[in-house]
Amino acid sequence: MEKANEKAYRLHLMVCAGTACVSNNSFGIKDALEKEINKQGLEDEVLVVTTGCNGFCERGPLLVVQPGNVFYQQLEEKDIPHLVEEHFLKGRPVKKLMYKPPKEKSPIPILSDINFFKKQVLIALRNRGLIDPEKIDEYIARDGYSALAKALTEMEPKQIINEVKDSGLRGRGGGGFPTGLKWEFVSKSSTNGQERYIVCNGDEGDPGAFMDRSILEADPHAVIEGMIIGAKAIGASKGFVYVRNEYPLAVSRLIKALEQARGYGLLGKDILGSGFDFDIKIVRGAGAFVCGEETALMASIEGRLGEPRPRPPYPAEKGLWDNPTCINNVETWANVPVIINRSADWYSNIGTKTSKGTKVFSLVGKINNTGLVEVPMGITLREIIEDIGGGIPDGKKFKAVQTGGPSGGCIPAKNIDLPIDYESLTEVGSMMGSGGMVVMDEDTCMVDVAKYFISFTQNESCGKCTPCREGTKAMYEILDRITKGEGKEEDIDLLEDLAKSIKDSALCGLGNTAPNPVLTTLKYFKDEYEIHIKEKKCPAHVCRELNTYTIDEKTCLDVGHGCDLCRKNCSANAISGETKTAHQVIQEKCIKCGVCYDVCRFDAVKVK
């Protein structure tokens, strides 16, 4: 096994190697840094470290210089020689590579002074950007596995369960069931001489949510440590991590982490000499959203079709191979070591009356600072969107935020001061879900959003029960015709009726919650549905069948001098004209793709 690098360095350059930064060439930046550091003869003083996701994905590729917490962003390889010479050799930080908030003049050099990071409280993401996820020693240096040592040597299983119960931790995968209570149920279930199992649900299927991926990539040992503590509490000897196949980096980091933990005697037989045996196996998902549902997930682990079954019996009684099984999601497991280390009292001081601790959200969509944020429960939507997220781009108006993925709903702008917790989100018709937070502005069509989610659940419906299989299809057809200008006045009532029947009669959580995006958009944005149906118009110009594109000939000629860009980009040959003449859209040929509107730099293309 690789030993810790014991050499002392003057500076550590933490290069983000989360998926978004990697796709923005962070490995190219890493290589360029190393090359330049060698060239300057700094290789014994400055160390380049690759870390998991830093969270501020919008600004990648990212580099944080430690000590000092100096934050560099949107780096390009050509910036590196200057950066190395100025900052790491001469000690003069390079301002032009630092983060500058939109509309402000001076950059903010220190990470913790940036609004995006300021209001965050890191528990599940405690090690993000600070350790190399592929080195167990770095996790251990940040108190890693000390909670496990405490749980195995100083605590009885009952005490562990009580500590988790008292902390108020609730399931972070969506349902919000009290974690300690679940553990207690599993620990009390009779096994008939068989085993109990621990499962980590890493089948993060909600589109727009990527915190589980990020935790597994940035800090896999946090999840493993949580699972071993859970196993001790409920008396399990075998665990499974079920990870999406779409997350290859998470899978490879987990494999490495498990090997390292075994090498250190933290997994396997007689863990830390305590006489406790436990090991973990990785199971890769195969691309079925429904497998995030716990009974479907277990079926998939057993090598069967990922179809849910009715509950009860709950997995706590009859889970994997009909044995008692404790399933929690990635983020929940990552919270456990901190609770054991810092006490239930400490943890339960954060958050609201019913929702304790923090929640990780992926803040995406029409927002300036997209990325991953961990905030205390009870924070308001306004703080997340305006302070952390930096508001809506291009001066557009905030319209709604969608939480909870396909099972959640859209919360309108008027609720921006809503404090976020499990109960408050349910009250407004949405849910916590796994923590996707998709921001929408005035250019988002709410009927289209509803159609999008129904099309998602329709596609992912496993087909076992009729309400979900046929009901979502019927809802999709209605929404589809509304967005094509063929809606009928009675469609709104029909949608509501269908939604209620599906909610009441579907077999599992996927079906029960599938109508939520439709119900919330109908509740808060009924006027948009009515305009689509009665006026055959899409106010946000998203439903393209309802759009008409025209070119303002005066602007085209006088301002744009007939630049011809729209005609060159039009794949339907639906634009007439040539350079230096005014252009026109030939309506009979137009396929309404909108590319002319996108490429015109002079606002000459109009959409109605």
Binding site: A20, P207, G208, N245, G287, A288, E302, G436, V449, S571
Partner: protein
């Protein structure tokens, strides 16, 4: 030839039904799809009825019974990508490549599929070509992306 590869793949796992999905994943990775012969071999070696192998192969979206292109294009249809315009991007790829979502081009160069969130929401809308992630795509950038991979 196929038989040997299958035997090798199965050898990595416990020889029972619970390994079926993992085995199919490796087969898919090796061949780029699930060839008919391979499925028959898997069924024989794991002693699982072929109907069951097929039911898994058609239930999970990670599996394909058709060969995929040399450059598989995956357009992300996650929520963040959707609100930032993934649908017009998909349609632009369909026009550019002359194939529909789920199809492979006749010369087996390109295949086009949609995926449900690749977890790069910060870069939305996102398209993956093979292992390469292309972020902040718009329909006018589509031909520039495909050009990189064309012969």
């Amino acid at each position: 030839m196929t038989q040997e590869i299958i035997t090798e793949i199965i050898g990595k796992y416990e020889p029972d039904q619970s390994s079926l999905i993992a085995v199919l994943q490796d087969v898919q990775e090796h061949f780029g799809y699930l060839p008919k012969d391979a499925l028959t071999d898997v069924s024989k070696e794991l002693d699982v009825p072929l109907s069951r192998v097929l039911s898994l192969a058609t239930f999970y979206s990670a599996f394909s019974l058709q060969p995929k292109g040399k450059h598989p294009v995956h357009v992300c249809m996650g929520t963040a990508c959707h609100v930032r315009g993934a649908q017009p991007v998909l349609e632009a790829f369909e026009r550019e490549l002359g194939i529909k979502d789920g199809e492979t081009s006749e010369d087996l160069e390109f295949s086009l599929d949609t995926v449900r969130c690749v977890g790069c929401c910060g870069l939305a809308p996102v398209v993956m070509v093979g292992e390469d992630v292309h972020g902040k795509i718009s329909q006018s950038k589509v031909s520039r992306v495909t050009k990189k991979y064309k012969k």
